[in-house]
C-alpha cells in the first residue's frame, strides 16, 4: 500500500498513543484553561482553537482502540469512528492554528502535554493525506534537495564566499576533527547570512575549532514540522552521518527553534540510538564560553531591549537562562516581557505554520498577542534566537506599524566582541 489513506492515518494514530497520551485523555475535565493559554484562541476568541479540541480525532481513536468500553461504544454505534472527512476538517486546526509551542501544556491543571499530543497526531494526519500543501512541499524538498527552501550546496558556498570576504575570516567546511559541527537553517542561509559571519567571529575570539558539513548543513527538520517521523529520521541521520564522519565533539544547532528540538530531543529517538556526540544550541555554546571566560565583549546596547523566547528552545528545549546571561553582557537596559522565559508567548509562526500559506491571515492576526507584550513594556528593541521567529516577528511588527528592530542574539554578541585581530570591513 502506498499513498496516503485513512487506514494508514488511523494506524499511525494507534502507534502514536502511549501511556502519557492515554493518561492525558483520561484526565481532561474540559475546563478550557488551555484555550486561554493559546494565542490562537486568545486573539480570535474562536473556541474551535481550544488546544484539546484540536486532538478530538486522536482522542476517539484512543477511546476505540485502547479502552475497554470504548471498543463496545464503537461497535454499538455509541461513538462514531473517525472518518476521512473529519480529518480533513481537523487539518487546519492541527497545522494552521498550532505551532506546538507548548504553552497549553504548561497551564493544564491536570498536566496534559497537549503539544506532545499534537506532534503525535500529525503522524496520522500526514499519513492520511491531511498535511498542508506547504509542508508537503517543504518535506519533499528537504528530502530530495536537502533543504525545505530548496537551498543547494552551491548557494551556501556562495554565501560563505561573501562572508569570508566581509569578515576576513575563513568559514571551515568539512574539517575532520573540529570540535563543533555547525548546522544552518535555510532561513539563515537565505535571509540572515550574517549569522554565519557572526559565529565565525565568535569562534575565532574564543579559539574554538569548528566546521560546516557540505553533506549535512541543513538544520531545519521538516519531518518534525509535518509530523512524519520517518522523514524526520532520515534528515537526522544525515546529520549524524556527517558528525560521525567528521568526528566532532558536538553538533551546534543554529538560531532555529524546531531545528534545535528536532536534533537535541527527538534526534536519538528518531534513529533509535543515542548519539555519540553532544548537541548544543549556539546559545548554550556561547554561554559555556562566557562562563569559561572565553567570550570578551565591549560596549552595551542602551535602548530598552527585550528578549523573545523561541518556544522550541526555551519552553520545549530547556535553554532558559543562557540568553539572559549573554544579553546582560551586552545590554544595559534589558527588560523582560510580562510573561517571559518558559511562559513567554509564541510568535505564531513556528511548527510549520509559516510554511503554510493558508495560515498566513491567521498568523498575522494572532501577532496581536506579541504586540500586547511589547506594548506593555514599551520595548525599543527585540532580540531573539530563532530566525523563523525573527522574520515573522518583523512581518508582524510591520503590519502593525511598530518600529522595533528585531535582532539575532548571536549577531548582537558578535557585534560587541572586543576587537582582537582582524575584523574586516566594518
Amino acid at each position: 500500500m502506498s499513498g496516503a489513506t485513512l487506514e494508514r492515518g488511523i494506524h499511525a494514530f494507534k502507534e502514536a498513543i502511549d501511556a502519557p497520551v492515554a493518561s492525558f485523555f483520561s484526565s481532561c475535565v474540559r475546563c478550557g484553561l488551555c484555550a486561554h493559554a493559546c494565542l490562537f484562541y486568545t486573539e480570535t476568541e474562536d473556541p474551535k482553537y481550544t488546544p484539546i479540541h484540536k486532538l478530538e480525532p486522536l482522542r476517539r481513536v484512543w477511546q476505540h482502540e485502547y479502552t475497554f468500553w470504548g471498543r463496545y461504544a464503537k461497535a454499538f454505534g455509541l461513538s462514531k469512528p473517525v472518518t476521512d472527512e473529519e480529518l480533513g476538517e481537523w487539518e487546519s486546526l492541527v497545522y494552521d492554528s498550532c505551532t506546538m509551542c507548548g504553552r497549553c501544556s504548561m497551564v493544564c491543571p491536570v498536566g496534559n502535554d497537549i503539544a506532545y499530543m499534537i506532534r503525535r497526531m500529525r503522524e496520522g494526519m500526514a499519513a492520511s493525506g491531511h498535511a498542508p500543501e506547504g509542508l508537503i512541499g517543504a518535506s519533499q524538498r528537504a528530502v530530495t534537495i536537502g533543504s525545505p527552501m530548496g537551498v543547494k550546496l552551491p548557494a551556501l558556498q556562495a554565501q560563505i564566499r561573501h562572508l569570508e570576504q566581509d569578515t576576513g575570516l575563513s568559514i571551515p567546511v568539512d574539517v575532520e576533527g573540529a570540535e563543533y559541527m555547525c548546522l544552518l537553517s535555510s532561513m539563515e542561509i537565505m535571509n540572515f547570512p550574517e549569522y554565519i559571519g557572526a559565529i565565525a567571529k565568535i569562534f575565532k575570539q574564543a579559539n574554538v575549532t569548528w566546521t560546516i558539513s557540505s553533506e549535512a548543513f541543513e538544520a531545519t527538520n521538516s519531518g518534525v514540522q509535518i509530523g512524519v517521523s520517518d522523514i524526520a529520521a532520515e534528515l537526522v541521520q544525515r546529520v549524524v552521518n556527517a558528525a560521525e564522519k567528521l568526528k566532532v565533539k558536538a553538533v551546534i544547532s543554529p538560531e532555529c527553534g524546531h531545528a534545535y528540538f528536532a536534533i537535541r530531543w527527538e534526534g536519538p529517538n528518531l534513529i533509535g540510538k543515542p548519539f555519540n556526540f553532544k548537541v548544543l544550541h549556539i546559545m548554550e555554546l556561547m554561554d559555556q564560553l562566557r562562563e569559561e571566560g572565553r567570550l570578551k565583549t565591549t560596549g552595551k546596547e542602551t535602548q530598552r531591549l527585550t528578549y523573545h523566547d523561541p518556544c522550541q528552545i526555551t519552553r520545549r528545549g530547556g535553554v532558559v537562562e543562557q540568553p539572559r546571561n549573554l544579553l546582560r553582557m551586552v545590554a544595559e537596559n534589558l527588560v523582560e516581557m510580562p510573561e517571559h522565559g518558559t511562559m513567554n508567548w509564541c510568535c505564531g509562526a513556528g511548527g510549520g505554520v509559516s510554511s503554510n500559506e493558508r495560515a498566513d491571515a491567521l498568523r498575522l492576526k494572532v501577532f496581536s498577542r506579541k504586540k500586547a507584550q511589547l506594548d506593555a513594556i514599551q520595548a525599543e528593541g527585540l532580540v531573539t534566537a530563532c530566525s523563523n521567529c525573527r522574520i515573522y516577528l518583523e512581518e508582524g511588527l510591520e503590519e502593525n506599524n511598530m518600529d522595533i528592530p528585531v535582532t539575532s542574539l548571536t549577531e548582537t554578541i558578535a557585534e560587541h566582541l572586543a576587537d582582537e585581530g582582524q575584523t574586516g570591513a566594518q
Binding site: 494506524h11 494507534k14 502507534e15 498513543i17 519533499q140 522523514i231
Partner: protein
Amino acid sequence: MSKDTTLGEILRKQGVSRRGFLKFCAATASLMALPPGMAPVIAQALEKARRPSVIWLSFQECTGCTESLTRSHSPTVEGLIFDAISLDYHHTLMAASGTAAEAARAAAMEENYGNYILVVDGSIPTKNAGYSTIAGISNRDMLLDTARGAAAIVAVGTCAAFGGIPHANPNPTGAVSVSDLIKDKPIINVSGCPPIPVVITGVLAHYLTFGVIPELDSHSRPLAYYGKSIHDRCYRRPFYDKGLFAESFDDEGAKSGWCLYKLGCKGPTTYNACATTKWNEGTSFPIESGHPCLGCSEPDFWDGGGFYKAISTPTENIGRTAVYAIGAGAAAGLALGAINRAKHDKAVKGHEKVTIDDLEKGS
C-alpha cells in the same frame, strides 16, 4: 364488677377526685395534640363509658408488653382505667385457665360481637402451627377466629406490630405480624419493645372517647405518639449538631452526656415518644441513661445493622470486598493493559514507512 357500671362511677368509688380525673383528661388531650377544648369532651365521654369488652391474645411474646403496662403498683389513674375495661381474656392476668378460659373467650366474643376490642401481643408463627398454640389452637387460627367480631385490633408491641424478635433473621418460626394476617379490620400498631404504658392508655382513651381510631402513620402507628423521631426530640440533639460524640461508654464525652450517634444510636431513624414522654412516668429513657436507642419501635430493628453500629457505617464487610475488588481489578487491568500493549506493539511493528510520496492521497 358489673359491666354496666360506667367508668365515672368506678373512678368515684375508687376515690379519684373529679379534679384528678379532669387533670388526666387534659393531659390525655394534650398528649394526643388535641386542642384544650377537647378535655371536657374526653371527660364526658369517659364518664359515660361503659366498660367495653377487651380480648387480649398473647402469641409468640415475652410478656414484656404486659409487664410494661402493669408495672405500676400504686393505683395510678392509668391502672384504674385499665380496671375499667372488661378484660375478658388475658393469659397472664385472668383468673380462669384451661377450658374455662377458652369458654370465657367464646362467651365474650358472642356477647359483644362486632364491638369488642381485640388486643394482640406477640408475633404469629406460620411455618408450623406447633410452634405456639393455646389450648391446642394455633395462634394463626385463634387470631383469625377472634378477629372476626372485633371492632378494632390493637397490636401491642413490635412483635405483634411488625414481627419483632421472633421475626429476626433467620426467622425460624416464620413469625409474622397481625397486619400480615388480618386485612379487613382497622389495626392500630402500638410498637415498641415494649411500648410506653401511657401510649397504650392514650390510644384506648381516644377510642373510648371518639369511637374511632386515632390518626395513623404509614405503619399504622398513632401519629400522636409516633409522629416524630427520637432524634428530632432528643435533648442531646445540640451535641449532634455541634459534632460532639461519645466515643465509648465511659469516656469523657459519655460522662458529659454527649450524643451517642457513634455508639450506634438509631434515634434518627426511630419513631416513638420516648424522648418526650419517657418511661417510668417521665423518669428517663435509654439515651438519657447513656445507652444508644435500639430503634425498638421500628420494623426489623433487631436486624437493623447492629445496635452498636452507627447509621453511617456499612453493614457488611466493605473492607474485605475492597481488597478483593482491587485484586480482581488489577488482574483484569493487567490483562486489558497487556491487550493494549500488544495492539500498540503490533501497530508499531506493522509500521509502513511514510515517504515523501505518501503524503498525498492517491499517489
